[in-house]
């Protein structure tokens, strides 16, 4: 080939000591959504990561100013779409706190019930996708992924018979919940909980007896306690770094004060610690579900049933910050109401936004393979990050 005929080449940029800039772009099998990480590599070690987010930005906060309090809860589930029940909870609680609206006991118990089932479903998805990231979609990771998805389907079937939707529900409304339990649901739920408990023990044995898994997860992605608090991460990440802070215990909301459950804390701060925290949370959530089913009181499911128009709910002037413990951490809604049917300002504190902010601080120094393992254990959902 004559020199004149050689086409222009894209040069790989090497600078000084052989650094390679690699883009783990928004389309990537393990980006957990749309996330772009521009990695600067020296060999196989990452020395710098620049996280670019905003690919899923829909400006929920502006949207909330244009929708009434009756319309927005269904949209709220689209922030953390993997754990939609807990997403709606924060908004509805904020509105109820400002308006001092009573929620009947049965509704509170139902809210706790679906939140805990949602936590189990979300953690099942986390386990499957994390192992798939570490093991490959054509390999051992996919096996665990398919098992956990099979279990998650059981929970989604329960939700489908309760609400009618599998992923994004409109179950919560200001004043209570929208639907009551259909006949036979409680029995089906108990059976599902029994099945899940056995299967979770199976996964624990499968993974913890496996030296490959331990080699990938142990000592990887250590978040120190001080960094954890400064950046504001929450949920299993915070509890995996030694801070015993669970909003269901520290600041009990809804009916959580009535139930007995343990809050797991691990101090090593690595991926294995976060994995252990979530595995214990599985069992504790199932325990709470059983307690709710045993003690569910009778009564109405909403203090404001039968909406006749979307603008019917008006919240008086005031502001409140309501936060709940979602599967990923503290999901909060800072709501400023001004007496009309639509809020004046709503700020959505997404758990994954703060959780993701810790990545540029912990990734440098690890290998490329660890980037996916760490991202998986941080478990971001980009609906919450970008809103």
């Amino acid at each position: 080939m004559s020199p004149a005929a050689t086409p222009a080449r894209v040069e790989l940029d090497y600078a000084g000591s052989e650094r390679l800039t690699m883009n783990m772009g928004p389309q990537h099998p393990s980006a957990h959504g749309v996330f772009r990480a521009v990695l600067t590599l020296e060999g196989e070690t990452v020395i710098d990561v620049e996280a670019v987010i905003g690919y899923l930005h829909r400006c929920h906060e502006k949207l909330a100013e244009t929708l009434t309090y009756a319309q927005y809860p269904s949209i709220a589930s689209k922030t953390d779409y993997v754990a939609a029940m807990t997403s709606e909870f924060a908004y509805v609680r904020a509105a109820e706190t400002i308006g001092k609206i009573e929620v009947p006991k049965r509704a509170e118990y139902l809210r706790v019930l679906v939140s805990e089932l949602q936590r189990v479903a979300s953690h099942l998805l986390w386990l499957g996708t994390w192992c798939m990231d570490m093991g490959g979609a054509l390999g051992g990771g996919a096996t665990i992924f398919l098992y956990t998805i099979r279990e998650r389907e059981l929970i989604l079937d329960l939700f489908e018979s309760l609400v009618g939707a599998r992923l994004l529900y409109g179950f919560f409304q200001v004043g209570g919940v929208r639907y009551d339990l259909p006949d036979g649901w409680a029995t089906a739920c108990r059976e599902t909980v029994d099945v899940l408990e056995g299967r979770i023990s199976e996964y624990e044995r499968m993974l913890e007896d496996n030296p490959f898994f331990m080699a990938r997860a142990e000592g990887v992605g250590v978040i120190s306690r001080e960094l954890a608090e400064e950046v504001g991460i929450s949920g299993p990440l915070l509890r995996g770094s030694g801070v015993a802070y669970d909003l269901r215990r520290a600041d009990p909301y809804s009916a959580y004060a009535d139930f007995d459950f343990r809050v797991p804390v691990e101090s090593s701060g690595d991926c294995l610690a976060r994995y252990r925290v979530r595995m214990v949370e599985f069992r504790e959530s199932l325990k709470i579900v059983r307690q709710v089913l045993d003690t569910l009181p009778e009564g109405p499911v909403s203090s404001r049933p039968g909406l006749k128009s979307v603008a019917q709910t008006r919240i008086p002037q005031g502001e409140a910050y309501a936060r709940i413990e979602g599967p990923r951490g503290e999901v909060g809604c800072y709501l400023i109401a001004d007496g009309k049917a639509k809020p004046y300002r709503m700020k959505w504190r997404g758990a994954s936004f703060s959780n993701l902010a810790v990545l540029p601080h912990i990734i440098p120094g690890h290998k490329v393979s660890d980037v996916v393992a760490i991202m998986g254990s941080v478990d971001p959902v980009f609906g919450e990050v970008d809103r």
Binding site: P29, M134, G136, G139, G141, F212, K367, S369, V372
Partner: protein, 326 residues
């Protein structure tokens, strides 16, 4: 039959047979994996999915051949062929039955091991010629990994050679008439285990498949290939695994020996090769993969010393056995 005809027909038959087996081995793997994952696998195309590989092959042949604008064309285009050729050559020295093979060289196993290590050239050409950082990273990892694991592969394959006393593959198979090498006390089992581990690693099968880890490198060195070139690379990979399975069956499981009449020998051979293949596949669908530095540490710090020691121990045992007998 004229002298020159046999050396032309035999490879032709073997090549076609290998390509045929490879296509159906992909279906076997998919069904096996599916059953492990509590699902069914290909089911609709043909009865129980039996026509699925044909459908896949036809699809790949019909695809548009895309070459990236800035790729190094000669390197990019030649890479699949350079990758495929060694993977096909390894079947040259394997005897499928006593006297039935393409070329029963008296350095049979040496030829196999040397040629199978040549695939790394094609792999690196693919990674380099694609002009893609993912492919490049994968190619660099590949060079590291395959070279590191070829050594334990060779040493664990040489242990049966010592036990049989010959490099000729049909001699090694014949020497297992009384006792399959895998049943040799301690040495046989250890060598078999090391052989399986090194095979899995030297062929980039999970859990050592970091070089095509799609969760990190999105198909690695194959990322820019589509259509028939991709099919050639897949063919080469599976042919290599199959070749190593045949080798394992020959070295450790007694090749064609089995109950029943003589002409059933090749069938037993195939069955044993499939057993090893399924063992490798089982491992693939069960474990997460480990990091590249952990893989290299496993090879250099654990596997290489152990296979070397095993080889030396085998040499001692052979000499002791012969001196005792003599």
């Amino acid at each position: 039959m004229p002298e020159w005809l046999l050396p032309v027909i035999a490879p032709f038959i073997v090549l076609n047979a290998i390509i045929g087996i490879v296509t159906y081995v992909t279906l076997l793997e998919r069904k096996f994996a599916a059953r492990m994952q509590s699902r069914i696998g290909p089911y609709r195309v043909g009865p129980h999915g039996l026509l699925q590989p044909i459908a896949d092959a036809v699809k790949l042949m019909m695809k548009e051949d895309i070459v990236p604008d800035a790729a190094d064309r000669p390197v990019y285009n030649l890479a699949p062929i350079v990758f495929l050729a060694p993977c096909m050559f390894i079947f040259a020295t394997i005897p499928f039955a006593p006297g039935l093979g393409v070329a029963d060289l008296n350095i049979g196993i040496l030829f196999f091991l040397a040629i199978s290590a040549m695939e790394i050239v094609g792999l690196f050409m693919a990674g380099w010629g694609s002009n893609n950082k993912y492919a490049l990273l994968s190619a660099m990892r590949a060079v590291n990994q395959v070279i590191s694991y070829d050594l334990p592969f060779i040493f664990s394959a040489l242990t049966p050679v010592l036990l049989a006393g010959s490099l000729r593959l049909s001699d090694i198979a014949a020497a297992q008439d009384g006792l399959w090498f895998v049943f040799y006390p301690v040495i046989g089992q250890l060598a078999f285990i090391f052989f399986i581990v090194s095979t899995v690693a030297a062929e980039n099968r999970a859990p050592f498949d970091i070089l095509e880890a799609e969760s990190e490198l999105v198909a690695g060195f194959r990322v820019e290939y589509s259509g028939m070139k991709f099919a050639l690379i897949q063919l080469g990979e599976y042919a290599h695994i199959l070749g190593a399975s045949f080798l394992g069956a020959l070295l450790f499981l007694g090749a064609w020996s089995g109950p029943g009449p003589e002409w059933l020998g090749p069938a037993w051979f195939l069955l044993k090769a499939m057993f090893i293949f399924l063992l490798v596949t089982w491992v693939r669908w069960s474990f997460v993969r480990i990091r590249v530095d952990q893989i290299l540490a496993l090879s250099w710090k654990a596997l290489l010393p152990m296979t070397l020691l095993l080889l030396i121990a085998t040499a001692f045992v052979v000499v002791w056995r012969h001196s005792g007998v003599a």
